[in-house]
């Protein structure tokens, strides 16, 4: 199927790839915010994941090790945030911003010697006959394993928050930390674990960029995707499936505008490049506006420091 010079199946396939890093980062941040913590350091943790994942993959020759390293890199940076905000009670917004700046700088330093190198290739997952299906085979069933794992992760997070007891405790901590403490739950422990999960997801998202999507290491290569992930969480009203829809919308417009650029459409490139950011935000604002109840999904204790008062 073709529209002009654009192949729809290829477009869909590219969309899923483009959406995966942002979706990973967003689903991690969603869990963090559900626990009542606002970590603005997503961009910093992503770029650390991109850098560490790239270094590990190049040195071991294994993309799998690269992804594991990326998750650990993201966790390491998120633990710094956890130490600052949960143990030392610093301001979450300031700490998150600092984390992003720190991550950008540190990754540039670590990655200096790796600019221009090609990482080991991540194989496509062999889905046998599924990938032979016309159109859908190309669009949906010809990806690497991370694309599918990310979708599974969204489903798992949705299930965890809705049905698991631990997920309920996490929501309770995010909703009213004083009440959760009074009932004897460990507010800080829950939050630190959530922050680590967010770090791991952001790290994986970053590594997906440097190992699969681009695939190369360049300084500052996350180009604001971490910030879009943060916005996605809010406008998705903290709902996993809606966050996924937002990520796919963003990915779709990214791919589409690249195709339009290549097709030589007479719109200045700058407008095309900014379009994914603008359109995603506009659509999500539209979806989440006008409903007083939409705001209710916001975790009640979001961005409020917890200090046990007894």
């Amino acid at each position: 199927m073709m529209i002009g010079s654009i192949n729809i199946a290829v477009l869909l396939a590219a969309l899923m790839v483009a959406a995966t890093p942002i979706l990973l980062a967003a689903i991690g941040e969603l869990v963090v915010e559900k626990a009542g913590v606002l970590n603005l350091g997503v961009e910093g943790m992503m770029i650390m994941g991109a850098c560490v994942g790239f270094i590990v993959a190049v040195n071991t020759g294994s993309p799998l090790m690269g992804f594991i390293g990326a998750a650990l890199g993201g966790i390491a940076l998120s633990l710094l945030f956890a130490l600052l905000t949960q143990a030392l009670m610093t301001n979450q917004v300031a700490s998150g911003l600092a984390l992003t700046l720190f991550g950008l700088g540190l990754s540039a330093l670590l990655g200096q010697k790796y600019v221009g190198i090609t990482p080991p290739r991540t194989p496509k997952l062999d889905l046998g006959p599924l990938s032979e299906i016309p159109f859908f085979g190309r669009a949906l069933f010809s990806h690497d394993i991370m694309v599918y794992l990310t979708l599974a992760l969204v489903a798992a997070v949705w299930w965890f928050l809705k049905y698991a007891r631990a997920g309920m405790i996490l929501r309770a901590v995010g909703e009213n930390h004083d009440a959760a403490h009074a009932l004897g739950y460990h507010v800080k422990r829950v939050r630190v674990l959530a922050i680590m999960f967010g770090g791991a997801c952001a790290g994986l998202g970053g590594a997906y960029l440097s190992l699969i999507r681009v695939p190369q290491w360049t300084e500052g290569m996350t180009v604001g995707i971490g910030w879009i992930a943060l916005a996605l969480v809010v406008f998705a009203s903290w709902r996993p499936w809606r966050a996924m829809a937002g990520a796919y919308l963003f990915g779709g417009i990214v791919v589409l505008q690249l195709n339009l650029q290549a097709a030589g459409v007479k719109i200045p490139v700058e407008y095309l490049s900014m379009s994914p950011y603008l359109i995603t935000i506009a659509v999500l604002v539209f979806i989440s506006s006008g409903k007083a109840r939409g705001a209710l999904n916001a975790p009640g204790s979001l961005n409020r420091p917890f200090h046990a008062s007894n």
Partner: protein, 508 residues
């Protein structure tokens, strides 16, 4: 003699600067309803937190059914059969009833079974509840049922209730007492914390009275008069506020047919509110928390704007004016939440005095602050209203509840207003400070100001109010004279019986 269930021996707990509990010992028998009586700050909360495992005692020990009992955290206490209903509810607004119940249980059954058991238990004890509703949508009374049902599902041996009736109508209190008596008859001991003496005399078998962290007496509350108990609790003789017979002046504040949406998604919108307030009059507005009290205060103070002509101050339409403009015209307000609404917690008393006094006291000139005049204003308030603090430089959050309340009410009274609106003026304030604040409001009315007191404390309203109305789901009942009004009638007004005639017929 009942078999002892829980024995406390020499419990002591110190916080920096205060001895919250000093060598407290008493016993609770099985199936006994035991009152823990004391003023705010007497150490009741600390004591029950130790029993519930939230706080570890510095000294002393507890035994539960003859075995040593030292819970390290609430889950241990729950496993040993100690459950607690909190004063400030420990509920989660965005979660449904069943989830809230499950969070308070050690080993909750599957959600579907849990919903069924919630229904069973809530019906058995006359506390109807729908497990699938969001807690944020429930009334204060229903929220308390959630807490109680959560405890009952775990078959507690000891149920701790921290000021359970402060949010209930008199009728709801009756229902609660019935439930508690039923539980007691089934062998569950209840530790009932309160400072309401009539309730304790009606419900409890034994009372332990705390004052300043020490036990002053254990007695049978039914053998003492309310006055004797009060004197044990307070340690001094209290004089009720005096009110003079005074003529009413002209209408100064008038609200007509005002409907206004709340600014809070869980709030209550005001519906068709009408009343008028005359100079020298004290109007008391009763109602269970969450029936529109906050919105009424915001609407009158100017934080929520209304159609201009529907709020009139001395004949002038003020609905569209903000708080500063209304204050300049002579209408001041003191909201319920002391820290964060009435006063900025991290600012000094001087700065807090400036925040509401700037206009009427002329504390700024060409946009610059006159710190000397502001400091004097703050010192005046501190001296006149007996605020116990080292000086006006102290941060608002460093003051105790009663002292800060005296400060924020005093600050508004010092502005010589024509109309003052106060919400819960003595909430969480010790008896001496409460009496002082009530007297100050009455003195202001005696001088010709109109006073509107919104409160959930009926005794307080009956003490100060000349006329009386109740808020119920955002509607205001017609205003009645407070003379000869009984607590039962007020209860019906709060419960939504807008027309009072059936109650009179019932009484006759």
């Amino acid at each position: 003699m009942r078999k002892p269930l829980l024995c406390l021996e020499g419990l002591t707990k110190a916080y920096p600067g205060v001895l919250a509990n000093d060598d407290v010992s008493f016993e609770i028998g099985e199936g006994q309803v035991h009152a823990l009586l004391g003023e705010n700050g007497a150490g009741k909360s600390t004591l029950v937190k130790m029993i519930y495992g939230l706080v570890k005692p510095d000294k002393g020990q507890m035994t539960l059914r003859g075995q040593s009992y030292a819970p390290g955290q609430p889950s241990e206490a729950r496993l040993k059969g100690v459950a607690m209903v909190f004063q400030h509810f420990s509920l989660f607004d965005a979660l449904d009833v069943a989830e809230n119940v499950a969070l308070g249980m050690e080993n909750p059954p599957a959600m579907r079974d849990l919903a069924r058991r919630i229904r069973e238990v809530s019906e058995e004890y006359g506390l109807p509840l729908d497990p699938s509703r969001l807690v944020g949508d429930l009334s204060a009374g229903e929220r308390q049922r959630v807490e109680i049902v959560r405890c009952l599902l775990q078959d507690p041996k000891l149920l701790i209730m921290d000021e359970p009736t402060s949010v209930l109508t008199p009728q709801e209190v009756e229902v609660l007492f019935k439930t508690l008596r039923q539980l007691s008859a089934e062998g569950t001991a209840i530790l009932y914390i309160s400072h309401k003496l009539d309730e304790i005399r009606a419900l409890c078998d034994e009372a332990t009275i705390l004052r300043g962290g020490r036990k002053v007496a254990t007695c049978d509350p039914r053998e003492k008069t309310a006055r004797e108990l009060a004197e044990l609790m307070v340690g001094q003789v209290l004089t009720p506020p005096e009110r003079e017979e005074r003529p009413m002046g002209d209408v100064v504040l008038q609200v007509e047919n005002l409907s206004l949406a709340s600014n809070n998604p869980f709030g209550t919108s005001l519906k068709d509110i009408s009343f008028s307030l005359r100079a020298g009059e004290v109007l008391g507005i009763a109602g269970v928390a969450g029936n529109g009290q906050d919105e009424l205060l915001l609407m009158l103070s100017g934080e929520l704007l209304a159609p201009s002509a529907q709020v009139q101050l001395k004949g002038q339409s003020i609905g569209h004016l903000g708080p500063n403009a209304r204050r300049t015209l002579g209408l001041v307000a003191a909201p319920e939440e002391r820290l964060g609404h009435a006063a900025a917690p991290d600012m000094s008393l001087t700065e807090n005095a400036l925040l509401s006094g700037a206009e009427r006291k002329g504390l700024t000139r060409f946009g610059f602050i006159d710190w000397r005049a502001t400091g004097e204003f703050a010192r005046d308030i501190i001296a006149r209203f007996d605020v116990r603090t080292p000086g006006p430089h102290v941060l608002a959050r460093a003051l105790s509840g009663g002292n800060l309340q005296k400060f924020v009410i005093g600050r508004e009274i010092e502005l010589n207003p024509d109309v003052i609106i106060v919400n819960q003026p003595t909430w969480g304030v010790d008896a001496a400070a409460a009496a002082f604040i009530r007297q100050a409001l009455l003195d202001l009315a005696n001088k010709g100001a109109a006073v509107l007191v919104i409160s959930q404390d009926l005794d307080e309203l009956l003490e100060v109010a000349d006329s009386f109305a109740a808020l119920n789901e955002g509607r205001l009942t017609p205003v009645r004279s407070a003379k000869g009004l009984s607590v039962d009638e007020i209860g019906l007004m709060m419960g939504g019986a807008h027309d009072m005639h059936p109650a009179h017929e019932g009484a006759a």
